[in-house]
């Protein structure tokens, strides 16, 4: 089943390159993969520990390469996210004026690569699938992007390639640090290994640098807003929504269970960085005057909350972090999708050039509003339930009346970000959709067509569902993290 989910998008990409009609093939592939994911989701047994739906295919015994796929609650959640966003991104891709086939194939490669990375139980494939997904991202920006697209493409390429290279070094260091008898590419074996406390710190720092660049941790974040501002909407949806989560996923999968001592030792550094992500980047976001840049920065800011959950180092905060990855992926994908539609119809995305769009595009305004409120953590959306768990998870451990430790102060400060995000989101919404148009746009922008409402509704509905009933995902995710702390 997982094999199907992983390979169908890649296969569809291949078929499109060979010459099959791009949009139909892409949609079919995404729907098949999505449907299969739903089956896995329904068939997943929360009560059973460990990985499920495991399928193994030995590639090379000499090299200990083993193409193994499997899911626990965490990877299942991420695969579900990847499938939903992939489907929506493909659906939102309209007519592409040149190299249409390559465009759709690239999207499928990103989606399939991300799914493969999340489903892989083997370190090699975990890494290789991510690389597979990264390359089409560069192409999408460089070839089909907007504005200063070549600079943006080079910048994101250098940053991310460097990030994944450092990550590779970190992974190799990790592998070497594991005692020989537990040394394996198999995540199931590797995860239960113990690395001597003294050896953990250098690995931790290298991984922080590598993963940190991939997920736009301050100060390695400046590629993100520029890339998202230049990328075509479906590429921004897939990268910000799904692929960027790879770094966080890897962190949860490897760094959290394997490097607990280093995490403790460097927790103040991590807290400083994540506070910078929330407060500092939040302020930068307020100063933005273009919608696409603002959204890019806001997605950088939200990484801070996810890291706060990770820094909490308990099952509550970690589960919240995982849930927030899921929720943020949905909301940012929706926001980028609507922004892409606005970009097609309006002369520019400058706040000063836009206004009163709600009159002309009520559906788009409504959907953007839902995405904006989801992103700023309005209850009812999955983002809120996740943020609650992150805040509670980070605040409670080691509570003492007399003396708050840094994690608690960080939680209190991070909470201020909730005000900051309300400020920039509502301000942007007011400028773009409310009020009277600052200048008449010719031709008058048309609203979203009927067919585009479906993918948007999918993103909204899933977010609302898990916002109202988060327990469904919590039950699946939390056992994996509880296991981390029972060893």
């Amino acid at each position: 089943m997982l094999l199907l989910i992983t390979l169908v998008p890649l296969l569809a990409a291949l078929l499109i390159i060979v010459g099959l009609p791009a949009r139909v093939t892409a949609l079919t592939g995404a729907i098949i993969s999505f449907a299969a994911t739903l089956l896995v989701y329904l068939g997943f047994n929360s009560a059973r520990p460990g990985y499920q739906f495991v399928s193994e295919l030995p590639v090379s015994a000499d090299l200990h390469l083993n193409f193994a796929l499997g899911v626990d609650g965490l990877s299942l959640t991420m695969i579900l996210l990847a499938n939903i966003v992939l489907l929506a991104a493909i659906w939102f891709t309209g007519e592409i004026d040149r190299h249409e086939n390559s465009f759709y194939a690239s999207l499928l490669l990103i989606g399939g690569g991300a799914i493969g990375a999340f489903a892989s139980l083997d370190l090699f494939f975990f890494y290789a699938f991510h690389e597979l997904a990264l390359i089409p991202t560069f192409l999408l920006i460089g070839i089909w992007g907007y504005g200063n697209r070549r600079t943006a493409a080079w910048k994101v390429t250098i940053y991310l390639a460097l990030g994944s290279f450092i990550l590779l070094i970190g992974l190799i260091m990790l592998y070497r640090a594991v005692p020989v008898e537990a040394r394996s590419f198999d995540l199931r074996v590797l995860q239960s290994a113990k690395i001597p406390a003294a050896a953990q710190s250098p690995i931790y720092l290298v991984l922080l640098l590598g993963f940190g660049t991939l997920i736009s941790l301050v100060p390695f974040h400046t590629w993100a807003p520029e890339a998202y501002a230049s990328a075509p909407a479906p590429a921004a949806m897939l990268h910000a929504g799904v692929l960027k989560k790879f770094g966080l996923y890897g962190w949860l999968r490897l760094a959290v269970p394997l490097l607990p001592d280093a995490a403790q030792r460097w927790s103040n550094l991590l807290l400083l960085l994540l506070l910078a992500n929330i407060i500092y980047v939040g302020l930068v976001t307020i100063a933005q005057r273009r919608l696409d840049w603002m959204l890019g920065y806001s997605s950088v800011m939200h990484i801070g909350y996810i890291f706060l959950g990770i820094a909490s180092a308990n099952a509550l905060g970690l589960t919240g972090a995982a849930l927030l990855m899921f929720a943020h992926g949905l909301s940012i994908a929706l926001l980028f999708a609507i922004t892409g539609e606005v970009r097609k119809r309006a002369p520019s995305l400058d706040f000063d050039a836009l206004g009163g769009l709600a009159n002309r595009m009520p559906i788009a305004a409504f959907l953007f509003g839902l995405g904006a409120f989801a992103a700023i953590g309005l209850p009812g959306f999955a983002n809120f339930s996740a943020e609650i768990m992150v805040f509670f998870g980070a605040f409670r451990p080691g509570f003492d009346f007399q003396h708050f430790h840094f994690l608690q102060w960080a939680t209190l400060l991070a909470l201020w970000g909730v005000v900051i995000s309300a400020v920039y989101m509502l301000r942007a919404y007011r400028r773009i959709f409310f009020g009277r148009p600052t200048e008449e746009i010719e031709p008058p922008p048309t609203d979203l067509g009927l067919s585009l409402r479906f993918p948007a509704a999918l993103l909204v509905a899933v977010s609302l569902f898990f916002g109202m009933f988060p327990q469904g995902l919590i039950e699946k995710i939390s056992p994996a993290f509880r296991a981390y702390f029972q060893r």
Binding site: Y159, L168, R396
Partner: protein, 602 residues
């Protein structure tokens, strides 16, 4: 009351969820059929009201609990209900006043293009408000607390193409968020100390906080922040007058009768916590007092009929918060109860006048409306008498309860409260005289016509309630009333009221313009100007600095650093010089595999 046998029932869930379902149905299916949307919404609130009545009649009712977040040993947040007398009465007030205002809206918003949107948001509001009332734990209350905020945002910004309405909506939401920031901190701290967010489970563990008075004070004050935002207390009161940009029924329901009372309700709900800290109570009482006096003063110099009423709402909320701070939840709830009726009445009657004079809100452009819109005139008079505390109207009893309390506990606060009573009488009489008496000052005011029945019916019902809601024989069925104390407070209050009325009549009878001109009051003590300045010099300044650093230091520096210092990429780029992204990407993939191969297998 003895909780002998609690019988679980579906009624509370039905009362809560039906408005949500109506709202969802309107959004999804009946956007185009505007009358059907209105009908759905009205039907939903009526169902909720009937459920609330049934629930009210059954003392031993309970409801099933749903786990929302449940991680055993870490965090448990259920969706469950408290169904004591307090919440059952609040349910009646919310759905009862809500139903009347829905009916009134049928008339007021009759030809509105965005009618479906309006009613969907109204239903969402009823759902959210009921959620606050019923919540049995802090997180659930916070959930609905925020949802109330968003429905208020939607309704204030209903006419979103007007700049003033769009700005007011944003301002209301962000100001509320500011308060909620403190509220959430408070919730976190209480949870940190007790390990639970459920009110019922908190009580037995309260000792863990009360053992530490200064910590408790901080907790209570942070939670109070939430109430300061939602109930628009000083210094976060600035959003409420601007919120009057919304349709008038919304001002009546949300920004007078129910939502703004949520802060008071919440403080009474967690009274066990609030009353444990004398220091916090002191702060709360003074915040209420400052708000009451300040808003009363500002109200005397406003010219927009809805803004005058908005400031009077602030002032009355100040009374309620004052009562909470004086450790009497009973007095606060009593005033909340009566105020909900007469303030909704005043707003709806004001809406009726506004409609009659073709959407004019400046009181100096009205005049002589007593003849033209007689029924509105009579009902507005009832509301005014109740608000200024004239016996036997409801406001007299509930306000006196607070004044008597203040006299007993803190003479200084009592003096301010008495002064506020005088101000209330003064500005309401000013409003009344200028709008309803004298001669019409504009052609519109001369030819004004009475509103349709769907609008007048709620006015009449609310007038009756404004008359009887204060009597013990009526109110005691709904609330535990504050103990009657025999003091001189009522006499002094009557005196203050009479002086206010006399002064108001004397100054404003037969005038065509305001004889007073107090600049500071006209400009609402310059709060908006000051906040604008503050935001510009803190948040905006920091934002610009941060953006500058990000662009010119981090980005520029990092890019240069990355391209300069990385041997691998520098070398590769120089070596290849392909300049073609596709070729480069392909080589990059190959290179990675090559590196892995050599690092691991050789």
């Amino acid at each position: 009351m003895i909780n002998a046998v609690v019988v679980n029932s579906a009624l509370p869930w039905v009362a809560l969820l039906v408005p949500l379902i109506a709202s969802a149905l309107i959004v999804l299916f009946t956007q185009r059929a505007r009358d059907l949307s209105a009908l759905l919404s009205v039907a939903a609130v009526l169902v909720s009201f009937v459920c609330s009545c049934l629930i009210f009649g059954r003392a031993n009712i309970g409801a099933a609990e749903i786990p929302w977040i449940n991680l055993p040993g870490l965090l448990r947040v259920p969706l469950g209900f408290v169904l004591d007398q307090l919440s059952r009465t609040m349910m009646l007030v919310v759905t009862g006043v809500g139903a009347l205002i829905h009916i009134y809206s049928l008339g007021y918003m009759r030809d509105e293009a965005g009618k479906s949107r309006y009613f969907a948001a109204l239903s969402l509001f009823i759902f959210s408000m009921l959620g606050i009332v019923l919540a049995n734990n802090f997180v659930m209350m916070f959930i609905f607390w925020e949802l109330v905020g968003v429905s208020s945002y939607l309704l204030i910004g209903h006419w979103f193409d007007r700049a003033a309405a769009a700005d007011a909506a944003k301002k209301a939401f962000i100001t509320n968020r500011l308060g909620d920031f403190g509220f959430m901190l408070g919730i976190l701290m209480v949870w940190g100390a007790t390990g639970t967010v459920v009110f019922g489970e908190m009580l037995p563990r309260l000792g863990q906080i009360t053992a530490n008075p200064s910590f408790l004070t901080i907790c209570v004050l942070l939670i109070f922040c939430g109430a300061v935002g939602k109930s628009a207390q000083f210094p976060l009161h600035v959003w409420l007058p601007d919120a009057m940009e919304g349709p008038t029924p919304v001002s009546a329901l949300i920004h007078a009768a129910t939502m703004v009372a949520a802060g008071v309700y919440m403080l009474v709900r967690v009274g066990f916590l609030v009353q444990a800290s004398p220091a916090a109570l002191h702060v709360i009482a003074w915040v209420g007092t400052i708000t009451a006096v300040m808003a009363g003063l500002i109200a005397t110099q406003q010219n927009d009929i809805k803004r005058i009423l908005a400031y009077s709402t602030l002032s009355q909320l100040g009374y309620m918060i004052m009562a909470v701070g004086l450790a009497s939840g009973e007095a606060a709830m009593f005033h909340l109860f009566t105020h909900a009726f007469f303030k909704a009445l005043l707003f709806l009657a004001a809406g009726s006048v506004i409609l009659a004079v073709h959407h004019e809100q400046d009181i100096w452009k009205m005049g002589g409306q007593g003849r033209n819109v007689f029924l509105t005139f009579v009902t507005f008079a009832c509301g005014t008498l109740a608000l200024i505390g004239c016996p036997p109207f409801a406001g007299y009893f509930s306000k006196d309860a607070i004044l008597a309390l203040a006299l007993q506990r803190d003479p200084l606060i009592f003096a301010f409260a008495l002064f506020t009573a005088f101000l209330t009488a003064f500005y309401m009489v000013r409003l009344f005289v200028v709008v309803f008496l004298g001669k019409p000052r504009t052609p519109e005011a001369l030819n004004s016509r009475e509103s349709p029945t769907s609008m007048l019916l709620p006015l009449v019902i609310l007038s009756l309630l404004a008359l009887i809601a204060g009597f013990t024989f009526f109110a005691r069925h709904f609330l535990p009333l504050p103990d009657e104390t025999h003091s001189i407070a009522p006499i002094l209050a009557l005196g203050a009221m009479l002086i206010g009325v006399a002064l108001g009549v004397f100054l404003y009878r037969g005038r065509n313009e305001d004889p007073l001109n107090l600049t500071a009051l006209r400009h609402r003590f310059y709060f908006d100007e000051f906040y604008g300045w503050l935001i510009e010099h803190t948040q905006e300044f920091l934002a610009r600095v941060a953006a500058f650093i990000d662009r010119w230091l981090i980005d520029a520096g990092a890019v240069r650093g990355a391209s300069g210092a990385t041997w691998s990429f520098g070398a590769m780029l120089r070596l290849l010089q392909v300049g073609n992204l596709q070729a480069y990407a392909f080589l990059f993939g190959l290179g990675i595999i090559w590196v892995i191969y050599f690092a691991l297998f050789r």
